[in-house]
Amino acid sequence: MKKISKSARSSFINYGIVLVFFIIFQILLSMGRLSSSFSGQLIPICTYVIMAVSLNLVVGISGELSLGHAGFMSVGAFSGVVMAACMQNVVGASWLRLILSLAVGALCAAAAGTIIGIPVLRLRGDYLAIVTLAFGEIIKNVLNCLYVGVDGHGLHVSMKDAMSLGMEADGVTIINGPMGALGIQKLSTFASAVVLVLIVLFVIQNLVNSRSGRAIKAIRDNRIAAESCGINVMKYKMTAFVVSAAMAGAAGALYALNYSTVVPKKFDFNTSILILVFVVLGGIGNLRGSMIAAAVLTVLPEMLRQFQDYRMLVYAVVLIVVMILTNNRRAKDVFEKMKDAVVGKIGYRRQTNE
């Protein structure tokens, strides 16, 4: 039998985790054992898992700190909503409309990623971080003044107000500036969300374990050395950035089509930071860690309900304590000793068995 490589096994474990997660919650759902607040969290969990995994491609694999990932989510969300609204009377099947909307969301976000990536990726370190932050804010600000409507003649776009769209009487306003997109048809389902997670994992894991992925990691580890080996730095950095943006766009469309209204303010700096927190807590460069951290931390504020007003305070304290425990040298030593004590015994047993 052909031996399965380590990376491939790790990828299959990730698919397995997602499938098990889906099956468990699908059973719980059909048995009616989930509270309504929790079942409402299922699609956001999938969305944030995609966001975390795609951001990890930029932060962990490509090694560039991005603070504007929510901007791509926003682009995807609103373009996806517009697409869904346009297709409402054209395409009958709702699953086809969902796929088209997700694809348009991903494409628009990829386009935004390309436009933003060209200037951003020329910068380094903290300067790169601040420019991604700036782009995130620009996207939010522009979407805040964007008005889109549709009538018999097609799409109408304006940056002034809903009146200046100049639509006919049967026209519908899809995006209404700071009020966001209203009256969205709920197309996203838990199953489709899980399928999207699997697709995103497939794309990113295959990218990471391919020739391009190795080039991206080489650039992260030492840009100059990689360049001297003939790796086209800009090309590979762009690949990672644009793929990540496209995935975020699809996630945004999925997220938006789960609610009846979405406002541009939802995708602000704090959301970008939230996703970065998932990535860092899950382990930089570790896709499985990002998935788990995103799922756990999306549910955690719900679980902390019993602390009522104190829950965000508790969340902040948990965040600080976890960061200190996992990064402080003294705390790390204590952990290592505990691990050695536990693993040492098992390891010893395994050795004697062999």
């Binding site: 903290d126 420019v131 700036a134 050395a225 700096f269 930071i273 970065l276 860092v280």
Partner: protein, 289 residues
């Protein structure tokens, strides 16, 4: 026209004072202190309580808020950042974000989310030149900014402590070998930065008199942008960046679009960074292989 310029300079002065805190901390600890914006908010609330509830006069209440923020800055540094001296910058960044969440939510619990109407701390008549009126707040803000700038420059260049700060930011290990107490120096930097944030809080809220737990967030991000604009780590750079940013923001609002003013500010930042990748007054980073 002149009016806009004055408003721009005064808003920019507030950004500059906040940016100084960012830049000093970045210079010495190489970390992006995202909690800095929330210290501004704490400064605002403390001075608000001192005047409204305790009935203190203006100057003692400002001093009280500077004192509280300075202590807060030192405590945060000791508890949250000091254990992470050797950690990666991303870990420190996330911790700073945790601190920022903590401060915002603590403020939410203590003072509730209802916006408070901030009393004008600078109750002086406006200065009238010809047909333009310059409010006292603008004048005081600009003056405070200039004074702080001069004092800080003198401090870092002439005093022993200031030299120690520069030495630590240059090379921590070498500084330690020269007998400089690195930890104390870093604490001092946080103390100064936080004290400045308190002053900025008072000035910001006097000019824009609504106080909420999220008041500090946006000015914090803008001031951070200003620090990068001028070249992060450089004190004159923070000053220049702050004032330019303020002027661009006010002129953008006045002549181009009110709603898009933030987008304009950030676009200018991006353009500047494309031409000068380390900011206006930033040092060039040379890479060794």
């Amino acid at each position: 026209m002149l009016n806009y310029l004055v408003n721009g300079i005064s808003l920019g002065s507030v950004y500059a004072i906040i940016a100084l805190g960012y830049t000093m901390v970045y210079g010495i600890a190489k970390m992006l202190n995202f909690a800095h914006g929330d210290i501004i908010m704490v400064g605002g609330y403390v001075s608000f309580c001192a005047t409204s509830y305790l009935g203190l006069p203006v100057i003692p209440s400002v001093l009280l808020s500077v004192f509280v923020c300075t202590v807060l800055g030192i405590v945060i540094e000791r508890l949250a950042y000091k254990p992470l001296r050797a950690a990666t910058s991303l870990a420190v960044l996330i911790t700073a974000i945790g601190v920022s969440y903590f401060l915002q939510n603590a403020a939410l619990l203590i003072w509730s989310s209802n916006p408070k109407a901030y009393p004008n701390m600078v109750a002086l008549p406006p200065l009238v030149i010809g047909d333009t009126q310059i409010s006292a707040v603008s004048l005081v803000t600009t003056a405070a900014c200039i004074v702080i700038m001069v004092v800080l420059t003198l401090f870092t260049n002439k005093t022993k402590l200031g030299k120690a700060m520069r030495a630590v930011s240059e090379d921590k290990d070498a500084a330690q070998l020269m007998g400089i107490n690195v930890n104390a120096t870093i604490s001092l930097t946080f103390a100064i930065g936080s004290g400045l944030a308190a002053i900025a809080g008072v000035l910001l809220c006097s000019a824009y008199p609504t106080l909420m737990p999220t008041t500090g967030a946006m000015p914090g991000i803008k001031a951070f942008t200003a620090a990068v604009f001028g070249g992060i780590g450089s004190i004159p750079g923070a000053m220049l960046g702050g004032i330019l940013l303020g002027i661009i923001e006010i002129f953008g609002k006045a002549y181009i679009s009110t709603q898009l003013s933030d987008a304009i500010v950030f676009s200018v930042l991006i353009l500047i960074l494309l031409v000068k990748p380390t900011g206006l007054l930033g040092k060039k980073i040379s890479e060794k292989v």
